[in-house]
Amino acid sequence: MDTAIEVTGLVVRRGKRAVLDGFTCAVPRGSVTGLLGPSGSGKTTLMRTVVGVQVVTSGTVTVLGSPAGSPALRSKIGYLTQAPSIYADLTVRENARYFASLYRLGASAADEAIETVGLTRAAHQLVADLSGGQRSRASLACAIVSRPEILVLDEPTVGQDPLLRDELWAHFRRMAADGATVLVSSHVMDEANRCDRLLLIREGVLIADDTPAAVKKAAGSDDLDQAFLNLIRAHEKVPA
């Protein structure tokens, strides 16, 4: 299996606390991989490491064969932060066009991304005037505008209505089918079911890395919510 992201023995310390403590995982190319875990478990830190903006204590992170954060990777990665990180005093289109220009792409790429996230009718509105859900979609448009090979999405569907969530997931699946590698964090379990693989992380430690079906089987439950509870309890009984 072709690996897009390879994390080996990753340790990230913030102050005295180890946010990630010897984390090892591999994300296959062309897949949608879900990153699941309670808040504060290290999901965002892992994503920041993959996109190369996190100071790492030790361990290696390799993305498409290069160390994470290499200049060559910057044109191949799209990153959606958890809080919408776009310019509130620009319109949706101005934001998308600016981010498109960073990859030497033109207005048509920007308009296409806006259409993908269903914001064409709001394209001329200032981001400051949008609803919370619209803002995060505008931010998503800027992450997918370059059609990246690696797409790292931190909670992309929070605050979106079910119909739109369904459309966005269909889009992530399409991107993966076209060869992109999608790493997406979520805490909605019905979304986890739509991933090819799941990484369950708790207190900076990986406690499951498998397909949704295999995770459910190993935990002895057909319900992913229950499966994760079982896994976490089982993990706590066995001292690492």
């Binding site: 903006v53 996190q54 100071v55 620009l90």
Partner: protein
């Protein structure tokens, strides 16, 4: 080109904020008008103070605007996101320097033009040089603002850097007490503050019809200070953060 589109982005942000544009353009002109009435009947004092202020206003305004704008980039997460894209640090630093430098040119031209034609301020060396030095000073404000924003976590802190960076330069630039009459160590401090040179350059323009060697040297010192501030700013800007 990334630098050009960054400049365009920053100017578009400014364009969506007409009140800020109005403040940038109008406030220095209003304050200089105020001085005109303060120094009623003392045209020579007004000339000296107005010229100096034409250099100082753009510096203060651009320092504040830049440090807040950069802090917003950090707080909104746009800075972190930009660092995952092909944007270079210099694209950002020069983007802000050139975009706000352009805004400062408009500000300085309006204020200097108004002081010259409406308030009768005289500048022997001509308005062009006054505006040139004012713009250099504004870009210095941008460069120092970019640098200081690296040390501020919050808007409260960023605003506190204003008195810290601006006030000593304002007090020691020769506006209140001629530099040669300061005690030795104060003169030494004044000698290493870049604003002392821009104020001296403006004074030279005010009293000599042709650009003097001192003026060019002073302008060179200001440009050097800009380059040093931008270089240190680039060094303190980190793609990776804890």
């Amino acid at each position: 080109m990334i630098l050009l589109s960054t400049i365009r982005r920053i100017l578009t942000q400014l364009r969506h904020d007409p009140r800020t544009i109005a403040l940038i353009v109008v406030v220095p002109t209003l304050l200089i008008t105020l001085m005109y009435f303060m120094y009623d009947g003392q045209p020579r004092v007004f000339d000296r103070v107005a010229l100096t202020m034409l250099g100082i206003f753009p510096f203060i305004v651009m320092f504040l605007i830049t440090s807040i704008a950069m802090l917003r980039e950090r707080a909104n997460g746009t800075l972190e996101r930009l660092f995952t894209t092909p944007v270079g640090k210099l694209d950002l630093l020069f983007g802000y320097g050139l975009a706000f430098g352009g805004a400062a040119a408009v500000q300085a031209a309006v204020a200097a033009g108004f002081a010259y034609w409406a308030l009768g301020m005289s500048a022997a060396g001509g308005l062009g040089l006054v505006v040139l030095i004012a713009v250099a000073n504004a870009v210095l404000g941008v460069a120092l603002g970019l640098l200081c924003s690296a040390f501020a976590r919050t808007e409260f802190q960023a605003v506190q850097f204003m008195p810290l960076v601006v006030a000593p330069q304002l007090l020691l630039c020769g506006l209140f007490v001629p530099r040669e009459r300061m005690v030795g160590w104060l003169q030494g401090v004044s000698d290493v503050l870049p604003m002392s040179y821009s104020v001296q350059a403006l004074t030279e323009v005010g009293s000599h019809p042709d650009p003097t060697g001192t003026m060019w040297r002073d302008l060179g010192v200001v440009l050097g200070a800009i380059i040093v501030a931008l270089a240190v700013g680039a060094a303190t800007l980190r793609r990776r953060t804890p």
